[in-house]
């Protein structure tokens, strides 16, 4: 199991993480090493076994559709790196 430079760049793109050249090299080595170790999983017979997503026997927990007070807008926006009025300011999405 060897992750190539291109594969690392592809994953970094999916994760939206900018990596330095040094990080790309290290990531390729370290992830390859880890995945090699994790290949032991392929030895386990899981024929007919259903996957576990979480460990409690609860499913589709719903809440009532009731109107409740939310946090004040100023509190929510207080940590915003850029704010305009009552909105988060973002970079242009469309060029």
């Amino acid at each position: 199991m060897k992750l190539t430079r291109e594969e690392v760049l592809h994953i970094a793109h999916l994760a939206r993480i900018a990596l330095t050249e040094e990080e790309i090299t290290r990531m390729s080595e370290q992830l390859s090493h880890l995945l090699e170790h994790f290949e032991v999983l392929q030895q386990v017979d899981t024929e007919g076994v259903s996957p576990t997503a979480q460990s409690v026997d609860l499913s589709s927990v719903m809440r009532g559709d009731e109107i409740k007070p939310s946090l004040p807008q100023d509190d929510v926006l207080a940590n915003a790196p850029r704010r305009e009025g009552d909105c988060f300011r973002v970079r242009a999405v469309l060029e």
Partner: protein, 485 residues
């Protein structure tokens, strides 16, 4: 006034507060002084909230004067910096959240506030709770008080150290793969990961949502039960929180193990386990037998796959959870020329190496073409691991294992080898995978370094494992041994 340095546990401090031999303000001042003195050596805190603590202590004294004291009223507590505290910065020991001030309290903070507890500060951790040594903090490394050249374990290393050296009476941590139990074992304190769904995670910064739990780090087992009483219970705001009634955990503290059947899973005594650790646990197991328990070797054959299962599932969930750090709503934000450049550099600069490694690993396991082979496969093996626990708990009341295969390792020793670092959680990971509760208690020492013993119970079996832990503790003196800094 009695000597405060003798006040080390919640129950002892509570008695003194109740009998008015000491006030919460006096108690809190003592702890704040002690923090000032020990911090240069151990570095357990990211933020010390002295002013707030004294305010809360004053309020607690009024509550006590009004005759309304509860078990945690006026008790100084430290909070892992992954739990949201309204108005107090919550950093996750990450550059990404260095200046983040939550607009609301986590559910556990609401409960502690209602109980009148006094928060003395937020504790250092591995960034976003990813790590086993607290070396992944973006700010500084926390030091093990038993040997300052060694790690305190992680990721709740700051909380474990704060309790171990008496910078706080008790602390809260979070445990996704051993992050409470492993540092508890490394620092010689008690640490419990409750059953998944027992404690609300509302306001816990998410790492791996199917595995994360909040739990206590305390000086002894009685304190563990007291904190569990305070933080457990259903919360509608956490949809994985289980609507199961909360018993009084202190009632299970009876030092008698007659008729109890304890399983010793042989797979936990892994290759590479230090002899001193295995020997210490064997002596502790003898003690449990003397106390009336029947011990038998058991087998959980899928245990060797737990590491791979965990390091596929946890990073996958992390890669989704940490997608929220985009530099728009809060946290570190890089101002690039375009939206994508801003986002990619925000995440590239804001996350440390281990967090990036795990996001990459998880993104890979979830990506097209690999999803079934890695993620679904790991979830299927997770089912097998859970089943094994279910089966073994039909015959046994609890399982007993070492908490870690080694004593605390040296600072720097494993930083360049992620796999070696991950292996230090080999005995604690399966517990999160199955969702069951586990507690680490002080088993003894080898070469002057602490060894933790883990007791694992079935779902919502906290009372049983507390009972085993308490019986061992009452029959030994390890929990009274203090690190001197």
């Amino acid at each position: 006034m009695s000597n405060i340095s003798d006040v080390i546990t919640i129950h002892e401090a509570h008695r003194l507060l109740k009998e008015k031999k000491i006030s919460s303000v006096e108690l809190t001042k003592h702890y704040l002084e002690h923090i000032k003195k020990s911090e240069p050596e151990v570095k357990a805190f990211t933020t010390v909230t002295a002013e707030l603590a004294l305010q809360q202590a004053k309020q607690a004294d009024e509550t006590i004067a009004a005759g309304k004291i509860q078990s945690l009223t006026g008790i100084p507590i430290a909070i892992k910096d992954v739990i949201c505290t309204q108005g107090v910065r919550t950093t996750c020991s990450s550059k990404m959240l260095e200046n983040f001030v939550p607009p609301y309290n986590a559910a556990v903070m609401e409960k502690l506030d209602a109980a009148g507890a006094v928060m003395v500060g937020k504790t250092n951790m591995d960034e976003f709770a990813m790590g086993s040594s607290t070396e992944n903090s973006a700010f500084f490394t926390t030091h093990n008080p038993w040997d300052l050249g060694r790690v305190p374990g992680g990721s709740s290393g700051g909380s474990a150290v704060a309790v171990a050296v008496g910078e706080a009476v008790c602390a809260l941590g979070s445990d996704t793969g051993g992050s409470i139990r492993q540092p508890a074992g490394f620092c010689s304190v008690v640490g419990m990961k409750p059953t998944y769904g027992r404690v609300s995670r509302y306001g816990l910064v998410a790492f791996a949502s199917s595995l994360d739990q909040i739990g206590p780090l305390t000086q002894d087992v009685t304190d563990c039960a007291i904190v569990m009483n305070a933080i457990s219970g259903h919360d509608k705001r956490d949809s994985t929180s289980v609507p199961e009634s909360v018993p009084d955990y202190t009632k299970s503290l009876k030092p008698d193990l007659k008729g109890m059947k304890l399983g010793i899973p042989k797979e936990y005594f892994v290759e590479g386990m230090q002899k001193g650790v295995a020997d210490t646990i064997k002596v502790a197991m003898k003690k449990l037998e003397e106390l009336g328990a029947k011990l038998e070797e058991v087998s959980l054959p899928h245990t060797p796959y737990a590491l791979a299962v965990y390091y596929i599932i946890a990073p996958s969930e992390a890669s989704a959870n940490l997608a929220r750090y985009d530099g728009v709503k809060y946290g570190y934000s890089y101002k690039g020329d375009t939206m994508w450049e801003s986002m990619e550099k925000t995440r590239g600069n804001g996350f440390g190496p281990e967090v990036k490694r795990r996001i990459m690993l998880g993104t890979y396991a979830l990506s097209a073409g690999f999803y079934d082979a890695w993620y679904i496969k790991a979830q299927k093996v997770r089912t097998l691991i859970r089943r094994e626990f279910d089966e073994v708990f039909e015959k046994y009341d609890a399982l007993v294992t070492p908490t870690s295969p080694t004593v605390p390792f040296k600072i720097g020793e494993r930083m360049d080898d992620p796999l070696a670092m991950y292996l230090s959680d080999i005995c604690t990971l399966p517990v999160n995978i199955a969702g069951v509760p586990g507690v680490s208690i002080q088993a003894g020492f080898t070469d002057g370094l602490p060894v933790g013993m883990q007791i694992i119970g079935k779902n919502f079996g906290e009372e049983t494992i507390l009972k085993v832990a308490y019986a061992y503790e009452q029959a030994t003196d390890w929990h009274k041994k203090r690190a001197e800094v």
